[in-house]
């Protein structure tokens, strides 16, 4: 460890903190805090990208760092906070599984991801290759976050955090994706959040709630020809 250069140590620290943040998201029940955690995750990603850009001298990484800062640290959290205020969703209901159980599953996921990443990391040639496992873990943990939540808001945050994980993975495996891909992804994410925002309003209009278990009533009814409740059926037709 003492032999590793200091900036690489910092990068590793960033990676570890990203993982920590993913776990914090997994455990967090307040939607506002969840968004703040997402913003911190974005900030860490920004720092990591800057560090990597400085280390490798790849100029396009500076650009993507700037993009990260603008989009993931400032714009998206702001949008989400605004959504939260408008929609008045501050708390997620009790998650589907209790905290300790979720954590345990998270731990197993991390073990799996780390184990999976070991052979991949051996193939990569970048200095940051050992962080691939962490990126993988962040992606999978975000998945678990999305699975265990009921509120649409938390699921969006999980989705964005998954994107962060992908970004970090690409960075540590190959020093970032080509610029055009990154722009594309950034645009996609932005559009996705906007579309989802519109969606939330629609869902709330229909159900007076953002709790996603209401969507369960949309499923095909086993008894033929009888719709379970008129309101959701109509909403399907409208969409």
């Amino acid at each position: 460890m003492a032999g590793t250069p200091f900036d690489l140590q910092l990068l590793n620290l960033c990676a570890a903190l990203l993982l920590l943040l993913s776990f914090a998201m997994l455990a967090q029940r307040r939607v506002v805090t969840l968004v703040n955690l997402l913003a911190i995750q974005g900030a860490l990603l920004f720092v990591a990208t800057l560090l990597l850009a400085w280390r490798t001298g790849e100029h396009h990484l500076y650009l993507s760092a700037a993009l990260t800062l603008a989009l993931k640290v400032l714009l998206l959290p702001w949008l989400l906070h605004r959504l939260i205020r408008r929609l008045q969703v501050y708390w997620d209901t009790e998650p589907l599984l209790n905290i300790s159980g979720t954590m345990l599953i998270g731990l197993l996921v991390v073990v799996f991801a780390f184990g999976l990443a070991q052979p991949i990391a051996a193939l990569a040639s970048t200095a940051t290759r050992s962080a691939i496992g962490i990126a993988l873990a962040v992606i999978l943990l975000s998945f678990v976050t999305m699975i265990t939540r009921r509120k649409a808001m938390s699921q969006v945050v999980g989705f964005l955090s998954m994107e962060n994980g992908l970004f970090f993975g690409a960075m540590s495996a190959t020093y970032g994706m080509p610029m055009i891909v990154e722009f594309g992804v950034a645009l996609d994410v932005l559009v996705a959040v906007l579309v989802l925002g519109v969606f939330f309003f629609q869902i709330r209009e229909q159900f007076d709630s953002l709790d996603l278990h209401h969507l369960e009533s949309l499923k095909e009814s086993p008894t033929f020809g009888k719709s379970p409740s008129p309101a959701p059926a109509r909403s399907v037709q409208e969409n």
Binding site: A2, N12, L13, L17, L20, M103
Partner: protein, 316 residues
């Protein structure tokens, strides 16, 4: 060489015994300041202990000899622990007798005797406190062991002085795994020392208390020993934290008497800052319901295991 080691050992023991109530007093003082209260004297714990020693002991009618022996064993265990943990110097002759795992065992011994003594009287308070204490214990102990495991793997040894020396003498390195375990350790420290999110040292409300419920039946010299032991335990945990995460400034084998001297003010400074930080944590957090305690400690355990995994992945 040899006399210096013995001197270090003796100095550490005496300093721990003498400074433990002071540290507690300092934490209480900081807490009072932060909460806009008039702070009690920093010497208050000493006065309390002195007063208690002079009083007549009152013991419940059905107390067994175990009840009377337990304070001495708990106190003795904490003193032995203070002898194992390197706080000023790493060349401690006694530490070959017990490594970090044995230290965890020693702390468990103290806990078991404390709980048994609490059950001995057979009141509702005592048994309740004992049950809760053992619950905190069985959750915190593996977490602490995992924290120690990470440090042991990094330094390839389970001897605390060697861990401290290894970290203190190498060039500055960032260990993400140690960041995880340091957070875990802080949670464990709060839980094990009956500090606020888990237990409130200042309350006697039976619904919430753990430690105070267990020592409720003690009085006079027995209580004095128990309180002193509790103060020592807090100091010991702080020093374990320093040895694992902040060993800089500790006197290592190469330093000689001067470095030992230099380590004393440094230790004092670390303790001052830690005490203030502890008071801050206690002030800004609310006490958890007992049912939430397992979650709190599960998080500590998880962080420690994560630290281990991160260390294995990143090699740091």
């Amino acid at each position: 060489m040899k006399p210096l080691e013995i001197l270090t050992q003796a100095l550490e023991l005496i300093a721990a015994l003498a400074a433990a109530p002071l540290f507690l007093g300092w934490v209480n003082q900081c807490r009072a300041w932060l909460q806009n209260r008039r702070a009690p004297s920093i010497w208050l714990p000493y006065r309390g202990i002195r007063k208690l020693f002079h009083k007549d002991a009152v013991i419940a009618e059905n107390a067994s000899p175990l009840f009377r022996v337990a304070p001495y064993i708990v106190f003795g265990a904490m003193v032995v622990a203070a002898g194992i943990i390197p706080s000023m110097g790493t060349r401690l002759p006694f530490t070959i007798a017990a490594d970090a795992i044995a230290l965890v065992g020693l702390l468990a011994t103290a806990r078991v005797f404390l709980s048994l003594a609490a059950i001995d009287i057979g009141t509702a308070f005592g048994t309740l406190g004992a049950r809760r204490e053992m619950m905190v214990g069985f959750l915190a102990e593996p977490a602490l062991l995992m924290v120690i495991f990470v440090a042991s793997i990094i330094s390839a040894t389970t001897a605390l002085p060697a861990i401290a020396e290894n970290l203190a003498t190498q060039t500055l390195g960032l260990y993400p795994s140690l960041a995880f375990t340091a957070i875990a350790f802080t949670l464990i420290l709060l839980a094990e020392n009956a500090r606020i999110p888990i237990d409130n040292p200042a309350t006697h409300l039976e619904l919430t208390m753990i430690h105070e419920a267990m020592v409720l039946e003690y009085s006079a010299r027995h209580l004095a020993l128990m309180e002193w032991a509790a103060a020592l335990k807090l100091l010991n945990y702080a020093c374990i934290g320093f040895a694992l995460f902040l060993p800089w400034g500790i006197s290592t084998g190469t330093g000689g008497p001067l470095s030992l001297l230099a380590s004393i003010p440094l230790l004092a400074a670390k303790l001052t800052v830690t005490g203030a930080a502890l008071a801050l944590i206690e002030t800004i957090s609310a006490k958890l319901r007992v049912f939430r305690v397992p979650e709190f400690l599960a998080i500590a355990f998880l962080l420690a295991v994560l630290g281990l995994l991160v260390h294995l992945l990143l090699g740091a």
